[in-house]
Amino acid sequence: MPNMIVCCKQVPDPEAPPSLFKVDSAANKMVIASDVKPVIGQYDEFALEAALRIKGKQGGKITVLSLGNKIARDVIKKSLAVGADELILLEDEAFEESDSWATAYALAAAIKKVGEYDVIFCGRQSSDWDAGQVGIGIAEILGIPAVTLARKVEFSDGSVKIDRVIPDGYETVDVAPPVLITVTSELGALRYPALKGIMAAGKKQPIVYKPADIGLESSQVGAAGRHINLSKLFQPVKEAKCEIIEGENGEEAGVNLALRLREAKLL
């Protein structure tokens, strides 16, 4: 039965209206309106679903890892409610402002501490900084193969079969565990938690690791462990000036749009 690890990041809801995301240029920081709720990153949820499907068929254990600071318990515990077995938080002020390098480095250190793993799942990219590097980085640090953009994953003794998205189609690959897999949206949405799962998750407490617990110095994590620095954050200005084409009803507006497109020589 496979031991699986799923890396999940808490992010501000990426589907919140763009007007709620602002930049504080003086502080070089994103300012996100308080009505934007924290959620588990979308692709991390797909990754968790991939692990749950394997668990449903083959059994096995799912450990969820999340790195950050002030991780909202009700948000991350959704992973337990849908069926993960264990939740480990790398949670400390020192982990704040990690870049892809520092994140992958700390997650890999935590995975080494967990010890036994057959498949590590990550989302294809985070739903905030969108870099798409951490999964591959973990694989490089652990010295295991990485398969990206999975839309289907099957586990059988000694082999993992993955359908991965390629331009204009997909390819099926076969690899012996341990392997790191990044997951994309076609895999399918994360299942809803059942009431029983929610109750059980409520009682479980996550394990919390500080840098020292995974053998790292504070100089190796978070802002101090970064390999790349943010020198400027900005929002390009957009001039919003949409001309709305009216009509008595949809048909008339459609006809008027055709006339306007011709008049403006757009077609």
Binding site: D168, C242, E243, G254, L259
Partner: protein, 333 residues
């Protein structure tokens, strides 16, 4: 350690010719090479490279390294990595550029972590800080809600570049340059991932990336059918193509190859109809290069009206057939 110098572009081929993204990378690389007064080289990896090496020179490369071997016919991440990693070690470039393509997304993070440096993916702009000679790497963050410029002192400096973000140079077949074949030695014992089967989903008609007009449907379309009827009819009238936001692709209404956006295709047609699409920043990331965006959405508050030039507030079921009918009449007269 040898001093890192020069710019290396990882080149890609489509049907034996230099891919459009590679000409864009060479255009950008040439500009950076000029700012640094260093060389621009390009690596091509394939089973058959043909004249593409010369093409890369015509598009701006000073040197083209070719890795040509039957085992490289199909992209396989570990074998390609061995070739790239070796060349990066042997030539010690200052900067390595990849396209933000299927291969580039896959290869660049591996190379960055192997070199223990860092990487900026999906860059829209690159320039050289004249004082430090470091690469200033600008990319969208928060799904495109903001942009960030990153800088690092670690070498080599690695970036992937979004397609259509940079301009290629005019092809000049008289440009001097050198094609250097490299010896390909793949350690097959290190290949762990075996490709068992490749399934290509054939898309009929014009490719999204080349289409002058795109009719893009979103979740509000509600099912597969309209993509093959009303949206397709409008697209065909305009000699264009039908695309989709992510939900129709995730729901299996359309092929994944039609998905436009941050995690799908990047398109830049003359005219883009966003039909029943709310206008999430991650979707706009894929179509903001369109010259004209036209929105059709029943919700007057939808964000897409902040991105569009012309819009209709209405149900697409009513608007699209009427629009297509009237356009047919106008375009034939």
């Amino acid at each position: 350690m040898a001093e890192n110098k020069g710019i290396l572009v990882y080149g890609e081929l489509t049907e034996g010719k230099l891919a459009a993204i590679t000409t864009e990378l060479l255009g950008c690389g040439r500009k950076l090479a000029g700012e640094l007064n260093e060389e621009l080289s390009c690596l091509l990896v394939s089973d058959s490279i043909g004249e593409a090496g010369k093409e890369a020179i015509a598009f701006g490369a000073d040197k083209v390294y070719t890795a040509e071997d039957p085992s490289l016919k199909q992209y396989q991440v570990e074998s390609y990595l061995q070739v790239i990693d070796r060349l990066v070690k042997d030539t010690a470039p200052r900067i390595v550029l990849f396209g933000q393509t299927a291969a580039g997304r896959d290869l660049a993070p591996h190379i960055a972590f192997k070199a223990e440096t860092c990487l900026s993916t999906d860059c829209l702009d690159l320039s050289i800080d004249p004082e430090t000679k470091l690469l200033l790497q600008t990319r969208p963050v928060y799904g495109g809600n903001a942009q960030a410029t990153f800088v690092s002192e670690l070498l080599p400096q690695i970036a992937t570049i979004r397609s259509k973000a940079m301009s290629p140079l005019e092809q000049d077949d008289s440009r001097p340059g050198e094609v250097i074949p490299t010896k390909v030695e793949i350690d097959t014992s290190a290949i762990k991932v075996k490709v068992v089967e490749t399934v290509k989903e054939e898309i009929s008609g014009i490719k999204l990336e080349d289409a002058p007009a795109i009719v893009c449907g979103g979740r509000g379309i509600g099912s597969a059918e309209p993509f093959n009827t009303s949206l397709k009819e409008l697209a065909e009238l305009l000699h264009g193509a039908v695309g989709a936001s992510r939900p129709p692709a995730d729901n299996g209404w359309v092929s994944e190859a039609m998905h436009i956006g941050l995690t799908g295709k990047i398109v830049a047609p003359d005219i883009y109809f966003a039909v029943a699409i709310s206008g999430a920043s991650q979707h706009i990331a894929g179509c903001s290069g369109a010259k004209h965006i036209i929105a059709i959405n029943k919700d007057p508050e939808a964000n897409i009206f902040k991105e569009a030039e012309l819009g209709v507030v209405g149900k697409y079921e009513e608007v699209i057939p009427a629009l297509t009918g009237k356009l047919k009449e106008l375009l034939s007269s």
